[in-house]
């Protein structure tokens, strides 16, 4: 399941392309060089990193749906690699500004992708640590004058070398001029100037709210060159996600349970998309079903087989839910 449109970003993909007849051996050697094989061969440390980048990409590709997100992430990787190569050849390089806006409903994979991005940036050598500090308004905004800047700076300090991920960032603009949220924004903007290459800021939230938030803070908007939209999953994707979650936990759905779950998902999608939490709601359903299955098995008379332990029945999803 690898990408078909963009240039390969790992040596493994170059080999795949060569085998598929999409590049000639000469081009493959040229690509190897572009991919910064230099560092990889001279010492072994970055070679590990290269292999791990591939691991992260495999993980990214394993996420269901999110086609555009995956493409964009690859574009970012290619951009970073080419800028690095250009600087090696002493060509003019674009500054690596990677602050990003994530727009999408809850449960559409924003946090998951942010975590992967952190690891990707670490493997690319853009961020030394690549960890994710996940915060929301309450972690940044204080209660009295001066408190907010202090709290915000603390979070930024924690995120140094990694990603500061602010969920529902639009809420910082809530409450008008007198709200301390504005102070948090100012502190963030200052940190983005002072510590340009030292951390990546990701602001996430609902599409409409984020648009409004950025419109009302033009200075902020221009500092985020990358925007990634996370569309809602469709029913098919959600069902696939559910089955993947169950498979990881070593459970599986009976035919009836599968139908029941599909029905629940359809009902959820028909309801307001703001209250339906996409993949997160599906995960909650699955966890509930696993608990109910346990109760059912405990109460069951007779022997509980290995098969029973794995199987989720329709009733485990409840009647009404």
């Amino acid at each position: 399941m690898h990408n078909r449109n963009l240039a390969p970003v790992t040596p493994e993909e170059v080999l795949d392309w060569l085998e598929e007849g999409r590049v000639s051996p000469a081009e493959a050697f040229a690509l190897f060089r572009t991919l910064g094989q230099r560092a990889e061969i001279i010492n072994n440390q970055p070679k590990d990193a290269q292999e791990k980048l591939n691991d992260v990409l495999v993980e990214l590709d394993a996420l269901i749906g999110l086609t555009e997100v995956k493409q964009l992430v690859r574009e970012i990787i290619a951009f970073v690699q080419i800028q690095k190569r250009r600087s090696e050849e002493r060509l003019v390089t674009e500054p690596l500004v990677l602050h990003t806006i994530f727009r999408g409903n809850p449960g559409t994979g924003k946090t998951t992708v942010a975590r992967l991005l952190g690891r990707i940036f670490r493997h690319l050598g853009v961020l030394p640590k690549g960890h994710l500090v996940e915060v929301e308004r309450a972690d940044l905004v204080g209660e009295y004058i001066g408190h907010t800047a202090q709290k915000t700076r603390e979070q930024i300090k924690k995120a140094m070398g990694g990603i500061l991920f602010i969920d529902e960032a639009y809420s910082l603009a809530r409450g008008g001029e007198k709200d301390f949220g504005k102070e948090a924004i100012d502190t963030l903007v200052k940190a983005m100037e002072d510590h340009k290459q030292e951390f990546v800021l990701i602001l996430a939230g609902y599409t409409d709210e984020m648009d409004f938030f950025l419109q009302s803070n033009p200075g902020l908007r221009s500092r985020f060159p990358i925007h990634i939209d996370f569309p809602d999953y469709n029913a098919q994707e959600l069902l696939a996600i559910a089955e993947l979650m169950l498979e990881k936990r070593q459970y599986r759905l009976s035919e009836g349970a599968r139908r029941r779950l599909a029905l629940l998902i359809q009902r959820g999608l028909r309801s307001n998309s703001y209250t339906f939490g996409n993949a997160r709601t599906v995960r909650n359903w699955i966890e509930l079903a696993i608990r109910r299955q346990a109760v059912r098995l405990v109460q069951k008379r007779g022997e509980v087989t290995r098969e029973d332990l794995m199987l989720i029945e329709a009733d485990d999803f409840g009647e009404g839910l």
Partner: protein, 202 residues
């Protein structure tokens, strides 16, 4: 085990070089591990004569996949073990046959991990046709790739042929800054220098 790879375009004499170089290093019976483009491996033991007869051919792409021989190289101080890998010829364009493409992907996969890359070029052909005609895009790309690392040498092969001397001059002009060793895979001329180079980079 550290690997020494023999790469180059088709029909530059990679397999003959690998066999005779192994023999030069004192391997009389070659225990060859073959890896087919499909990833299957099998082993055979061949004498030098049998190997030359079976594994080399004037037809291009006689070697498909990777042929690996483990060698203990005696030096002034002790011995060094390494694997000598003979690979299938690289083409300039995209080969039509999928099996050749797979074989080349295999070669490139190994190149990434190899300690030493010996890049064979047919010096006689360069002397006869000129560098532009005789060399391919892939030779320049391999040289640029090799230039970024240690353990890369160009072996100007077929020095036993009359036009090769002129070819060597051209190769030296085309690839400045690289280690270029003139050899003859057939007569084993220049093998001492290759041995020295390999020893130094293991």
């Amino acid at each position: 085990m550290r690997a020494c790879m023999v790469i180059g375009r088709a029909n530059v004499g990679k397999t003959l070089f690998a066999i005779n170089f192994a023999a030069y290093l004192g391997v009389s019976r070659l225990e060859v591990e073959f890896t087919t483009p499909d990833g299957e491996t099998y082993r055979r033991t061949l004498t030098q004569k049998e190997a030359v007869e079976e594994l080399t051919s004037p037809e291009p792409h006689h070697t498909l996949g990777v042929q690996r021989v483990e060698i203990q190289m005696p030096g002034l101080k002790g011995k060094k073990r390494f694997a000598l890998l003979d690979t299938s010829g690289l083409t300039d364009g995209i080969p039509e046959e999928s099996i050749i493409r797979r074989a080349m992907a295999q070669t490139l996969a190994q190149v990434r991990d190899a300690a030493i890359i010996l890049h064979l070029i047919d010096a006689s052909s360069v002397g006869r046709h000129g560098a532009v005609e005789a060399l391919g895009q892939v030779d320049w790309q391999v040289a640029q790739f090799g230039g970024m690392r240690t353990g890369y040498a160009i072996l100007a092969n077929k020095m036993d042929l009359p036009e090769a001397g002129a070819g060597l001059v051209q190769i030296r002009r085309e690839f400045p800054g690289h280690v270029i060793l003139p050899i003859s895979a057939l007569t084993k001329a220049g093998f001492a220098e290759v041995k020295q180079f390999v020893w130094r980079h293991l």
